[in-house]
């Protein structure tokens, strides 16, 4: 029953032809439960050493929102990856960023993207933004067993609400609790520092371009104080993944733009420190 290739049984199995759910996750749970990330047996009581993703920030701006994530994954005190991507399009009008166990998180994102696309194809219409946020909560809840083993996944979800015409942000806890955030939010190990930064830099009515800068500065501040968050890597030219979600959909900010913003931010900070140090000796 759980064979990944349904053709192994010739004609389409009855489960495929049974009318009912528009949810791919529900279909998977009944037809091939072993493929669901939360349904795998956990061996041993010791927490597993696996790469962890770190800081994600989201900022509401005029006509939408901006989501950004650094590129570092850590395993204990080691840097497991410097170019992991943690911000993804969930569908045309929403973005999902993930902190926590990288392997599970990336799989969860893949399943969530498929869940939204599957619904859209079967129903012929998009889920509401609240509907999408609730689906994600259900999927996180399914992962609770693994979370208790130290393999938690904590996403940050944001999207453009087509009915209200605004950008909205949702945060989650490991038990599947869903909380709507206003203005801005951050998750992951560097989130404390990022939130501090966002509080000072955010203001109402930021343009998307200004919001990109605010998000980047928050990540730079997080990287400054949190060893598990990676700052912009000017040597290898690895920039955070930054995306805007507006009425025109999910758009990833191109590297050239990010490079310019990073240069301005770094130059301003360098100038400030130059004054401070110079002042002491003068």
């Amino acid at each position: 029953m759980t064979h990944p290739d349904p053709l192994a049984t010739g004609r389409l199995p009855a489960a495929f032809l049974t009318p009912g759910s528009s949810s791919f996750v529900d279909f998977l749970a009944s037809y091939a439960p072993g493929l669901l990330p939360g349904n795998r047996p956990v061996v041993g009581a010791e927490p597993v050493a696996a790469p962890h993703g770190t800081t994600i920030v989201a900022v509401v701006c005029a006509g939408g929102l901006v989501m950004a994530g650094d590129r570092r994954a850590t395993m204990g005190s080691m840097i497991a990856s410097r170019e992991i991507e943690k911000v993804f399009p969930a569908d045309d009008y929403s973005a999902i960023g993930i902190a926590g166990t990288a392997g599970l998180a990336v799989e969860l994102v893949r399943l969530f993207q498929l869940e939204l696309e599957h619904y859209e194809k079967i129903e012929g219409s998009l889920l509401s933004l609240d509907g999408k946020a609730n689906r994600l909560a259900t999927m996180i809840r399914g992962n609770l067993g693994l979370a208790l083993q130290g393999l938690a996944v904590v996403p940050l979800f944001g999207g453009f609400d087509l009915d209200r015409g605004v950008g909205r942000i949702f945060s989650y806890d490991v038990t599947g609790g869903r909380y709507e955030e206003h203005e801005h939010h951050a998750v992951g190990s560097g989130s404390v520092f990022a939130r501090g930064s966002l509080k000072k830099l955010w203001r109402r009515g930021l343009t998307p371009d200004e919001a990109v800068r605010v998000a980047l500065e928050a990540l730079v501040d997080a990287a400054d104080d949190d060893s598990a968050t990676g700052g912009p890597d000017t040597t290898r030219r690895i920039w955070p993944v930054v995306a805007t979600v507006t009425r025109s959909g999910y758009l990833r900010v191109p590297d050239e733009t990010l490079e310019q913003v990073v240069e301005t931010v770094v130059a301003e900070r360098r100038a400030q420190h130059g004054h401070a140090r110079g002042g002491e000796h003068a």
Binding site: L7, L12, L17, F24, Y31
Partner: protein
């Protein structure tokens, strides 16, 4: 005591085929035509919600004629099949050929083993990187599959409509050209000497698999955009 009648297998299959054909012939036709940048689907359908043409996967679409509940069931099965396969392997590994095969097996089994055949006719089409790589499969109620090139007409008046499309279709037509051809075929007179009908955009269901689009190639065309395309 009554004796059960003997029915020869030939007669049994012929009766089922006639039954299925009659059911399909009652519905309106669907025209599938290839153009320079993809594959276009057109049918007469006033409903905005009950579709005859839909998206299955990134580069695969589905078109059907016949009984709505039966082909809708097959469509949902196709979406589940494609999404499961793409999730287990990779998006690249979902192909129209494999899906057409699964549909053929299903239609064939139902035709021979169940009391009533499915009264549907399907097209599964996949758009490739080039026009040569496009695939169009036509499946009939008994599970037979045909690999078609260029165009397919199925449904009630298929043969008559096919003659209209066949006369004017050639490789490399543009989207407005194939749509005008398809709509002319759909509106052609039901019998010799009848009047050609002009179908307004609101009465049409039109969709394309556009090979120039990055991931999901399927797109519905309606409203002012469709009117512009039909006026050329």
């Amino acid at each position: 005591m009554s004796m059960p009648f003997y029915v020869s297998p030939e007669q049994l299959m012929k009766d089922r085929a006639d039954y299925a054909r009659k059911g399909i012939a009652r519905g309106r036709s669907v025209v599938v035509v290839q153009y320079d940048e993809g594959i276009a689907f057109a049918t007469e359908n006033a409903s905005r919600a009950l579709h005859k043409v839909s998206e299955i996967y990134d580069r695969i679409a589905f078109a059907a004629v016949g009984k709505y509940n039966e082909f809708e069931n097959l469509r949902v099965a196709g979406v589940r099949y494609a999404d499961l396969r793409g999730y287990s392997y990779d998006r690249e590994d979902v192909t129209a050929r494999a899906l057409a095969n699964a549909y053929a097996q299903t239609l064939g089994t139902v035709f021979t083993t169940e009391s009533k055949p499915l009264e549907v006719e399907l097209v599964v089409a996949e758009v490739g990187r080039t026009a040569e790589a496009d695939q169009i499969y036509r499946l009939t109620y008994d599970g037979s599959v045909a690999d078609e090139h260029g165009w397919v007409v199925m449904g009630g008046q298929a043969e008559r409509l096919a003659s209209v499309v066949e006369a004017d279709w050639r490789q490399g037509l543009t989207l407005p050209q194939v749509l005008q051809l398809a709509v002319r075929a759909l509106g052609s007179a039901p019998e010799e000497g009848g009047d050609q009908r002009t179908l307004p955009a609101a009465q049409l269901e039109v969709a394309v698999l556009d090979r120039t689009r990055p991931r999901r190639a399927f797109r519905r065309l309606a409203g002012p955009l469709l009117e512009d395309l039909l006026e050329g």
